[in-house]
């Protein structure tokens, strides 16, 4: 059995026929070849697969593609400026050496994107709270917190 889904991904409307059990993560990564979204645990804890769905962060490993029918989805590939340069958050991450291996990165960027959209002037505690559902094994988090604060300061 297959189901037709139509959704907007990074501003582009996409349609596909998928099995109902197909996760949004697999749909994005394999069917749409948007491999920037990563799978770190496939049980909803690590947060590497975080995308935004209608502006709110969501675990794409726990969501089915069919549940995103009609939704507006943004992935890490959608964070670049129109001219191909880094967005403010990305630049702040580069400037702060926020990440190391890069595997958890998409999830942190999407969680931080949601935070900064809702709360442009977060405190450090706000930032920690917002990314507390994302695991990073390389950095000890301090550089990520610094980067999100820097992005806020620069008006992300």
């Amino acid at each position: 059995m297959s189901v037709e889904v139509t959704l907007t991904v990074n501003g582009v409307q996409r349609s596909a026929t998928v099995e109902p059990r197909r996760t949004l993560a697999d749909f994005l990564r394999e069917d749409l070849e948007l491999t920037g979204t990563h799978l770190g645990c496939e049980h909803g804890v690590c947060g590497a697969c975080t995308v935004t769905v209608n502006g709110a962060s969501a675990r794409s490993c726990l969501m089915l593609a069919v549940q995103a029918n009609g939704a507006d989805v943004t992935t890490i590939e959608g964070l670049l400026e129109a001219d191909g340069s880094f967005g403010v958050l990305q630049q702040a991450c580069a400037d702060s050496h926020a990440f190391q291996c890069g595997f958890c990165t998409p999830g942190f960027l999407m969680a931080a994107t949601e935070l900064l959209a809702e709360n442009p002037k977060p405190t450090e505690d706000d930032v920690r709270e917002a990314i507390s559902g994302n695991l990073c094994r390389c950095t000890g988090y301090e550089s990520i917190v610094t980067a999100v604060m820097l992005a806020a300061e620069r008006g992300a």
């Binding site: 491999t35 804890v45 920690r128 988090y141």
Partner: protein, 775 residues
Amino acid sequence: MSGVAPAQRFVGQSVRRVEDRRILTGRGRYIDDMQLPKMLHAVFVRSSVAHGRIVSVDVDAARSMPGVVAVLTALELEGQAYPLSIQPDVPNVERPVFTALASDKVRYVGDPIAVVVAEGRYAAEDARDAIVVDYDPLEAVASIEHAENPERPNLFDDIPSNLLYSEHREFGDVEAAFEGARVVKLTMRPQRVAHVPMECRGGIADYNSGSGDLIYYATTQSPHGLKLGLSGVLAQPAEQVRVITPDVGGAFGQKAGLQREDVALCVASRMLGRPVKWVEDRVENMTSASHARSEILEISAAVDDDGTIRGLDVTMRLDVGAYPVLPFPPSFLGPIVRTMMTGPYHIPALRWANTVYATNKASYGTYRGPWAIETLAREALVDRIARELGLDPLDVRRRNVYTVEEQPTEMVTGPTIEGIRASEALERAAELAGERDFRAAQAKAREEGRLIGLGYSSYIEPAPGPPNLFPSMESGLPPERAYARLEIDGHLTVTTAQAPHGQGHETTLAQVAATEMGIPLEHVRVIHGDTQLTPFSVIGTGGSRAATMASGAALLATRSVKEKVLEIAGHIMEISPSDLEIVDATVRPKGDPAGGMPLANVAGAAYFAAPPGEDAGLRSSSVMHEPPGGWSGGTHACQVEIDPQTGVVEITRYLVVEDCGELINPAIVEGQIRGGIAQGVGIALLENALYDEEANFLAGTFMDYLVPTVMEVPRIEIEHLEGDALHEVNYRGVGEGGTIAAPPAVLNAVADALGGVPITTLPMTPERVLELIDG
């Protein structure tokens, strides 16, 4: 001002990482991001029991399911891959022989039994669920105590017991050290922990049945080591095995060596003539990839009343799980721990005994700072000595730590101690921690019923260690090679034997090479992770080798290319090469900023019309041998507050004073330190790869195995000391120090908060802390 621009020096600056352009935009390419034409997907059937004989594996139903191309068991692997074992030249060690897929027996929960290959992963997982394995269970060997019990069954039928290795050594005059001395005893038994790279393991085997070439795309930190292993096990000529490493999402030691799944995948591709991909899921990774630590270390220390440590008598018992991770023999850890046992302290005698056991658990895999048990146990011991003798833990450290004046000297176990700043780091850490003020605050807090504590740990880290370190461990440190090639446009390609996965070597090696060559940083590209292109190294990235060894090799290779460039430029410009310099990609007479010619023109001339007698290729290959010194080290200080009601430990302050020589890129160095400490905090407070008494694994998900989040890892203050350079290449590794030094710093702080209560195991969960509070 003369107006002469100095050659730009990128070393020492926190330049932005080259890697970030792809990582921050979702354009990294990790193993699971790769799709090859006609690629198939594999999943493994794994044992649900810890120990048992396989009665039958029924794969018939699975083979006929939609999309399934093949189901392979040990039977199908016969004749396709040799059984696995450790190198025959390792002395005095039992040598388990096993197959990539379990044949007659399963030996841990997660042991791979069969591999399903299908057109897609969903189809492969459906078929996996249709496979029925019938076991005849055996009693489990779930602990070292079980392994020592002759009543329990042996894991390997041809090995007479579950004891794989034992060693006894003595250094210095141990008997004299203990004669008339006070004896302080301590047992330390940390838990099993898992490496938990955020990316699980995986690979794509791509065998071309026409050419007979095998390409294996692998999440590995040792591409050449993996190639070597695959070539031998698969009887595939070395020139027809190529290992390519895409972006790797962390490893921490878990992605070293030859994994059994690698062998099964390559056989599958060779049999089917199509690419086969496997990417493990998290439960599989937690269950089957590998774990570490969980040694039992018993120490008796001979001490004087003033806290002088005269000698140690140490017994280590180690559980290496069911199967060795090749090429590491079960005996490999002991010599590292014993050699490092006395750490930054002048302790003149050591008695050492080590036994190593097989158990029904996942393999022991080298984990960041593999020798960490010595730091944990020794630093807890120092505090215990202070407690029992009524001394200040800082004073016991002061009395025993190597001073600058006594260096160079030798550890009783052999390695030269030279250029370490242990004493200075200790004093500075105590000063920064506000030791005196803290003690007053602690007394006051105690009156209010609050529990606060301050603990220290001092350590040294072979990074990579002095030239005589590896001989002390009866092994050798392989040299490190690098290639450099000036491109036709004057840019530089540096090819390293490292296989980075977060360490930022594309950036740091470029900093070293660009500084040496006199060109902009953007003109350097660092190539890694392809055995067809990169110089041989059996290790790849591991053992804190990159800062010294890979940087040194890149420096020497670049320097050699530069000499060739100056030779050719000298010929063209009719000037002695020794009077030329390269500044900002211009070759010019020294001190003449207006003169000279673009480096690109020299490169072009060399490529198209090399002067007579000159080598047309501007390429060099260089080898770095270990320089003197080679130690990083320092002191960590940790402050905690414990909630007496809940037992929750909060780290209220954490600081590090350390020396790793000159910093190539301070932000990268500090990222390594902080990341290492975060893992150490996890070991101290949260993580536990727990098995029950029947060797069932209880920590397969992130709900059961707690990795520190941003809420548990504090801000970390770092101060760098920089000692005198003993060598031109004065960069040293910092990858492992955080992970080895943090657990004892936290442990000592918690013990201090609880009035000096002995703590002998980790993690210090709220439940455990409440038990300690209740005594």
